[in-house]
């Protein structure tokens, strides 16, 4: 039996119906067409499906769609405003912090949550703040540099 869920996604009121066992990730990707969050593992180990729920980073594969009721969800699709990119998005491109790019949405969500909590993180804080996200292409070097640079821009 499908359950009707009311939630806010990227600032919009969204209602959807989903099965009680369906993950938030499956709801986002298969029911709402928000395919920015990726499924790399389905077990919360890779962070590719990272979204923000009420400002907290969550693996969307580990949360049920029905649990989104009444909460505010932000996905990578909500990071930019029109043509204006979030500084993290700009810096990821500028620093070549992505190669294949499949982990990038998850990294952006995790980095955004990190910088919202800690606007001036050390390299070590960035590395531990992003340790829940796997990247197999970059060796993380350019990702860390992009986050450092974005943090600087955001601090103004």
């Amino acid at each position: 039996m499908a359950v009707l869920v009311s939630t806010t996604i990227n600032g919009d009121n969204v209602e959807f119906a989903c099965d009680p066992h369906e993950s938030l990730l499956d709801v986002l990707r298969n029911r709402l067409g928000l395919t920015g969050a990726k499924e790399g593992c389905g077990t919360g180990d890779c962070g590719s499906c990272s979204v923000q729920v009420d400002g907290r980073v969550v693996c969307a594969c580990l949360m049920l769609g029905v649990e989104a009721e009444g909460h505010e969800i932000e996905t990578v699709e909500g990071m930019s405003h029109g043509v204006e990119l979030h500084p993290l998005q700009t810096k990821f491109i500028e620093h070549a912090a992505l190669q294949c790019g499949v982990c990038t949405p998850g990294f952006l969500m995790a980095a955004k949550a990190l910088l919202e909590k800690n606007p001036d993180p050390t390299e070590e804080e960035i590395r531990f703040g992003l340790a829940g996200n796997l990247c197999r292409c970059t060796g993380y070097d350019k990702i860390v540099r992009a986050v450092q640079d974005a943090a600087k821009v955001m601090r103004g």
């Binding site: 620093h95 790019g101 292409c137 860390v144």
Partner: protein
């Protein structure tokens, strides 16, 4: 059927391409580049930071079904019967396929037959995770229910998963079809050795007699997975009229097309394959797995079918690289001259024929100038998934063994390990241990750079050690087809057929902009589907930027010929009086003094009156991929209480020929090093006695995370490849070759204990430290 479909393995013909055969247009030491060597934003960047980029699983078709694969829980089992009757009756199930739905169209092509059998077991399941049936249903829950209703009657057979156990007398036979190749006379009875290969020259036995010091060691490396973050995914749609479409994440959609068409019994031209954005491949997306199955399901259901592998399936059934067992013996005189080198390499292939030990044998001593050298490789069959290419396949394991012995030998002679390698380094004119004679190469230069690098002399603390090692990869060129189309506004569409795995669209566009003399922004590079361009080999062998930029430059030259003709027509002068310079047609000669140069934009705007569309094409076999060398330096700290180790500092020095987009060259260096670090310290397939994989997930198969690594320093050397118009060499793979050895050498230098088993995980390190204490 396309003849190239028989090239089951991407590197099968790599050896044929390592010796430069065609000198196209040497521009050695060219320095006047305007676009090449800059770092512009990549064209696909915006889509990838906004979630708009579409990967394998991000695409859907109307009426699409969900496909799932039933996999063997046994390492080795005869399939007596598959009963699908209950599953077929489940409402919502639209098709079920088994091997019976994939008849053998391979016509005696052994490598294609192996791929067919690997896609769907035929009578015998040969590893834990081997596909035995598949279902397509209206949704995932229904498909999952249907899988449970399929009853497979297995007769469990004895199995072997260990590379050394598999070659012992009496070991269970993994693939009775295969008789050992490379042995004369050819055996009449099957064994678990699929092939023996030998490389080398000189007289090794006589060489060892001249040695003052000989070091002999045996090594093991465990099996690792490419670990791309995006699982395999595809959407297949086959129409009753015999045509089909396939959307898929792959490193080579033309090759996937050829393989799928052959396995499905379709004409190649009737299957149109579109490559999605690819979420990492590293060699692991060069084989077909679920794609023929999705096509077979779609054909049976007459509906599109999407198959997305789970991570568990990715680990159990796709990838991985070989587990190895290697013996190395090197002898040298006291002055540091190596007089003989010998290695025996056993590489696991899974249940099918492979060429992994062969590649290990070819690469093992490729860095050195040796008078007497021999390598013997054995391809070993085991009940594990079919081995696939993994970034410079087989070279990291061979380098681990050889470079460890090189260090030990240097120390025994009393020489610095860098100087010892410099003394024996291969150079231009050296006959490589695997046959060809080298052209201009970078091994010596990377070693000299390492010697001078500040990293080499930085102080070390307690429990810390520094190691270095060298690495080699052939690089590959291959079949390449590229189009350039000039739009009516003068903007340029560059159409390539090599999948972009890490920024190659930017690099190829830079080369074409350079050749046309226009800005990078004026050139839009896209990857075409298989219906829109001639065949392209896969993005493998570090060939993406090398080969497509070469074909792109040639296509640009052809387009320039057309542009000159059009300008001549506009001016009504002979075409021979028109030259192309800085993106403009210019009339040559004082008599044309009053003719202002015509820009590409102006010529394009007039095209309708001068002959129609303006285009340039190029179809080549991109011969002459320059070989690639690297030297790495690693600092490691080991906790003697726990055996845990941490990389403190890491430096990659590698020859790029010419770095087209240096940021993405650095990225390749860093990414390969990180994968090598994971391999060296943590990653391994762990099989139980039951032959089942025990760590098929990212929690237990632990790849490096951000907090495991330091910044990875890079130094790009540019020793131009004379076979590429701009001197480019492939850069993607060599960076994974040295890390295993560099880190092992660092640990050895920290504790005086030679590490001989990779990964050097905490339990193994502790064991080695304890053994050293007792000794």
């Amino acid at each position: 059927m396309a003849s190239e479909s028989t090239m089951a393995h991407p590197f099968e013909d790599a050896p044929n391409h390592v010796t430069p055969t065609v000198i196209h247009d040497p521009v050695l030491a060219r320095t006047d580049f305007k676009s090449v060597g800059t770092r512009p934003l990549r064209p696909d960047g915006l889509d990838k930071v906004t979630g708009r980029a579409r990967y394998g699983a991000d695409f859907s078709m109307p009426g699409q079904l969900v496909g799932l694969v039933l996999r063997s829980p046994h390492a080795h089992a005869r399939i007596r019967k598959i009963d699908t009757s209950k599953a077929e009756k489940l409402p919502g199930v639209k098709a079920i396929v088994t091997a019976a739905d994939l008849p053998d169209h391979t016509g005696g092509d052994q490598s294609m037959y192996d791929i067919l059998e690997n896609c769907m077991a035929r009578g015998v399941a040969k590893y834990d995770g081997h596909a035995v049936a598949a279902v397509a249903a209206v949704d995932a829950p229904t498909a999952r229910k249907a899988l449970k209703l399929i009853k497979v009657d297995y007769e469990v057979l004895p199995h072997v998963t260990d590379v050394d156990e598999a070659v012992k007398p009496g070991a269970p036979l993994v693939n009775p079809r295969l008789l050992t190749e490379g042995v004369e006379p050819r055996p009449t009875k099957p064994s678990n050795i699929a092939k023996r290969t030998e490389f080398g020259h000189g007289d090794v036995d006589a060489g060892f007699k001249q040695a003052d010091v000989i070091v002999t060691r045996s090594f093991r490396t465990e099996q690792t997975h490419q670990g791309y973050i995006e699982p395999h995914a595809c959407v297949a749609s086959v129409s009753p009229d015999g045509t089909g479409e396939l959307w898929v994440c792959t490193q080579g959609h033309f090759v996937y097309r050829n393989h799928c068409a052959m396995l499905l019994g379709m004409d190649v031209s009737r299957l149109r394959v579109t490559s999605s954005e690819i979420g990492g491949g590293f060699g692991g997306k060069t084989h077909v797995w679920a794609e023929p199955v999705a096509l077979a399901l779609s054909r049976k259901a007459n509906r599109p079918v999407k198959i997305t592998m789970t991570r568990d399936e990715v680990f159990r059934a796709s990838g991985p690289t070989s587990a190895t067992s290697i013996d190395v013996r090197i002898g040298a005189r006291k002055d540091g001259t190596i007089v003989a080198a010998d290695a025996t390499l056993r590489f696991s292939c899974g249940p099918y024929y492979g060429m992994w030990a062969e590649l290990g044998s070819m690469t093992a001593f490729a860095c050195y100038d040796l008078k007497n050298v021999r390598t013997v490789g054995y391809e070993v069959l085991v009940n594990r998934p079919k081995t696939a290419a993994y970034r410079a396949p087989s070279a990291p394991m061979a380098a681990f063994a050889v470079e460890s012995v090189m260090d030990e030998l240097a120390h025994k002679i009393g020489m610095n390990e860098v100087d010892f390698r410099i003394k024996n380094a291969a150079r231009q004119g050296t006959k490589a241990s695997y046959g060809p004679v080298y052209g201009p190469i970078g091994i010596g230069a990377t070693l000299e750079a390492a010697k001078k690098h500040p990293h080499m002399s930085a102080p070390l603390g307690k429990n810390q050690g520094r190691g270095m090692a060298c690495g080699f990869w052939f690089n590959f060129g291959g079949q390449t087809c590229t189009d350039i189309n000039v739009g009516p506004d003068g903007s340029v569409t560059l159409t390539v057929g090599t999948v972009d795995v890490g920024g190659s669209r930017a690099s190829i566009a830079l080369c074409v902009a350079e050749e046309l003399g226009v800005s990078y922004e004026q050139v839009k590079c896209i990857v075409a589907d298989t219906g829109s361009l001639g065949h392209n080999d896969m993005t493998d062998g570090s060939r993406g930027t090398f080969s497509s930029s070469m074909a792109g430059i040639f296509a640009a030259r052809n387009a320039i010929t057309v542009l000159r003709e059009r300008a001549a027509r506009m001016w009504e002068i002979p075409v021979d009086d028109v030259k192309w310079e800085d993106g403009h047609a210019k009339a040559v000669g004082e008599k044309y003094g009053n003719l202002a140069p015509l820009s590409l934009k102006e010529i394009a705007a007039a095209a309708v009156n001068t002959g129609g569309p303006i285009a340039g094409h190029s179809e080549i076999v991109a011969d002459g991929a320059g070989v690639s060398f690297a030297t790495h330096i690693a600092d490691v700290e080991v906790d003697p209480e726990t055996g845990r180790s941490k990389i403190l500092r890491y430096t990659v020095i590698q020859d790029a020929g010419k770095a087209v987009h240096p940021a993405y060259v650095e990225g390749q260096y860093q990414g390969g090093a990180a994968q090598g670090i994971g391999w060296a310290l943590n990653e391994e397939y762990i099989y139980g006695k039951d032959g089942r994989l025990q760590n098929a997930g990212f929690l237990d198969y632990r790849i490096p995370v951000c907090s495991d690594l330091p910044m990875i320093d890079t130094q790009i050397l540019e020793i131009p490849n004379p076979n590429h118009p701009y001197g480019v060499r492939g850069v993607g793979e060599t960076s994974i070759v040295p890390p295993l050895a560099a880190i092992a050498n660092a640990m050895s230098n920290a504790f005086g204990v030679r590490m001989t088993h990779v990964p050097m995980s905490p339990p193994r390190v502790l064991k080695a430290l304890e053994a050293a204490k007792k000794a």
